[in-house]
Amino acid sequence: MTSRPRLATDVNVINGLAAVALFVVMGYVFVTASLPAPSGFPDGSITASIGYAMFGLVDQAAIESEGFLVAFEIIDVLLVAALVGGVMLARRESDGSVVTALTDGGRRLRGNGDSTEADADETSTDGGEH
């Protein structure tokens, strides 16, 4: 059985007013700011210039920018660390038991009927109630 999406009517109006007030304040600042007309980019390939900037070859780029080679390498390390962290958080052992960051919540885990959840309960909790 499916149900159609419904408009949430139990929302907090104060939060909505806060968000709208924030938009009004920022919009007032932006509209009343006296910015000069945008200068735009000079002729030349923007895509190629972005590529040169990412690898620090700013002297070959058609459009001026700074070099980002160090930031590029640091982002590389960051992405690998995030990937490993995500896998470590989500990992299960080959027998299906959960190996990390599982608590019993003060009660036995509500297994969904299969034995692997019960095994996870036996092996992974901190033994607070056993």
Binding site: I50, F72, L102
Partner: protein
């Protein structure tokens, strides 16, 4: 005819406030991640708009790095939500009120 920078700033403020409202209102942790993504992309709009405003590509390159950081944040966030679901059988952020028993 170039669009004036103020309109980009207004769009960015609107997207940011939608993200703020989502974080203040919603209880689903996955919608939280989407709202944080909205706020990060509002900053990206500003970076690209001012990159065009000044005729310098630094802002556009920097917004690419912001997207990469957003991807890393979502990877860790999804992992945390998986653990949250295992411990509480739910992704409602208001149910995870204690860290340890």
């Amino acid at each position: 005819m170039a669009i004036v920078t103020e309109y980009y700033l207004l769009l960015s403020a609107a997207v940011f406030c939608i993200g703020v409202y989502g974080i203040l209102t919603r209880r689903n942790a996955l919608v939280f991640l989407m709202s944080v993504e909205l706020m990060l992309n509002a900053a990206n709009i500003n970076l690209v708009a001012f990159s065009f405003h000044h005729g310098n590509l630094t802002g556009q390159v920097f917004s690419l790095f912001t997207m990469a950081i957003a991807a890393a944040e979502v990877a860790v966030g999804i992992g945390i939500i998986l653990v949250l679901y295992r411990n509480f059988q739910d992704v409602d952020v208001t149910k995870a009120a204690t860290m340890r028993w």
